[in-house]
Structures are given as structure tokens and as C-alpha cells.
Amino acid sequence: MSSVQGTARLFVSLKFSPREHLVAAVSRLVSEFCGLVMDNKDTAWRFHMAAQELAENVTKYATSKDVSLEVEMTSLDGVNVMRVTSRNETTPERLLETARRLDAIKNAEDPVALYDRLVRESAPVPGISGLGLARIRAESDLLVDYSIEGTELSITVHSPVNLREGA
């Protein structure tokens, strides 16, 4: 199988109902896969955290009965790239708000400073954190992209990774 970014070594799509108890199971699958193929436990944890935040986001904000999380490992010229993509349908208002946040996160010259600011701003506000996407970029160093088609939002986190020998 080949994709725009190179030869796919692995592609898994998990389609699930946006229910809280399924989030942990889905993110654990990503974690176990990363732990098996990556040569660095901390890199595997970064993808686990990102998968957890993405899966929680789609569960909280989806308006459709199904959402998905895709895991893709590609290889091009000896460089392996891991991608995790969430897809969900949501409201136009939510799409606008998420796009605004994601543009700020994607284009931030200093993702940690942005995250610190959002944390300070959220501190007095009870309830929903709204910090998950900013956290992914600031804490995991993963790159974040997104696209919107109609009412479907896709968010991808990705990074080159080193694989274990024989993986």
C-alpha cells in the first residue's frame, strides 16, 4: 500500500461510538502498538497521550453516532513517520472554535508559552479544560494539522520516529 507521504508500513482505522468507556481501550491500542514498534518508551508515551486527548475530544464533541481514530506508519527514504488522526462530525460553531484554536496551536512560535497562557486563562474557569490540543503540541513536540470537510473535522498529529530493530 502506498500513500502520498510514502509507503505505508501499517494503517489501522478504529471506528467507534463516542462513549467514554471506549476511549481508554482505543488509546491503549495505540499505546501498545507504539510500545511494540518504537525504540523509545517516551516517544511511545507521547503518541499515547496524543491519542488519548484526540479520542476524548471526539467523544466530547461529536454530533455523529460514529467517530474514528486512525494510526498510520509510513516509510519514505528511510524516514519512518507515525500519524494519528481523529475524525468526527460536529457543529458549525464547534468547527469554527476548534479551527481558531488549532490555527493558534499550529502556528505558535513558542507552543509552551501558548500552553502556559491557556492554562493560566483556564485556571479560574470551572469544568472543561480545553487544553488537550495545546498540550499535545507543547508537551509532546508532535506536529498538529487539521482539515474540515463539510461538518467533518480531522485532526492529525505526526512526527518522524525511530523503530525498534526488526519492527
Binding site: E20, H21, V23, A24, S27, D42, W45, R46, H48, M49, Q52, E53, E56, T59, Y115, D116, V119, R120, S122, A123, P124, P126, I128, S129, L131, G132, R135, A138, E139
Partner: protein, 126 residues
Amino acid sequence: MSERGLTPIIQEGFTARADVAGERLVFKLTGTGDMAAVKPLERALHEIHAEVAHRGLRAVDIDITALYLLNSSCLKALVSFIYAIMTAGPRYDVRFLTDARLSWQTRSLSVVARMAPELVSITAKT
């Protein structure tokens, strides 16, 4: 743990309990801090703040060495806990205990320490 008591959190995949040791309250979290843990954690931190004020304790240790995930909503609960100390008082120190082998723990909590460096410290246990 006291005549007032702090109810331990015991649920599938996540537990938390508080104990007083001298002038410190030690709050130990175990398992996975995911969506199911958020509400119980918020409640427990609220109770801890009241208990520390009631007993006049000087510090709280939050031990996350046995925690394998902390989602952003659980982090937000910790942020709100620190914010309450900063704004409503009483003021006391908060020390996070992390496992030095799990570098994500210190990395995840550093945002809380940056928010209130005068109150919050992180100690990585080897």
C-alpha cells in the same frame, strides 16, 4: 483518614487516597487519570483543600509515581486546585512526587509548577 474524613477514590483503573503525615497531607494517585477520573479527582482536591485549612497543615504532597496517564482534564483539576490556593487561601506548599523513570510525569506537571513557582515544586524519585 480523620474525624472529618476524606473518602478514598476506588474505581476501576483509578484509585486515590489521602493520609496525613505530620504537617503534610499525602495524596497518592494510582492507575489511569482519564475521563472517568476527572470528577472524583475534582471532588477529592476540593475536600483536601478544606481539610488542609481545617487542620492548619503546611503542605500537600501529590504522589503520582504510580500513575500511568494524566489527561488534560485531570491536569486542569490540579490547575484549579493550585489556583484556589493562590487566590482563596490558605496558602500552603504543594509538592508533586514523580517517578524519575517516567519522564512524562515531570514534563506534564511542569506547566503547573510554572503557573505558581512560589507554591509548587516537583521531586522526581529515583
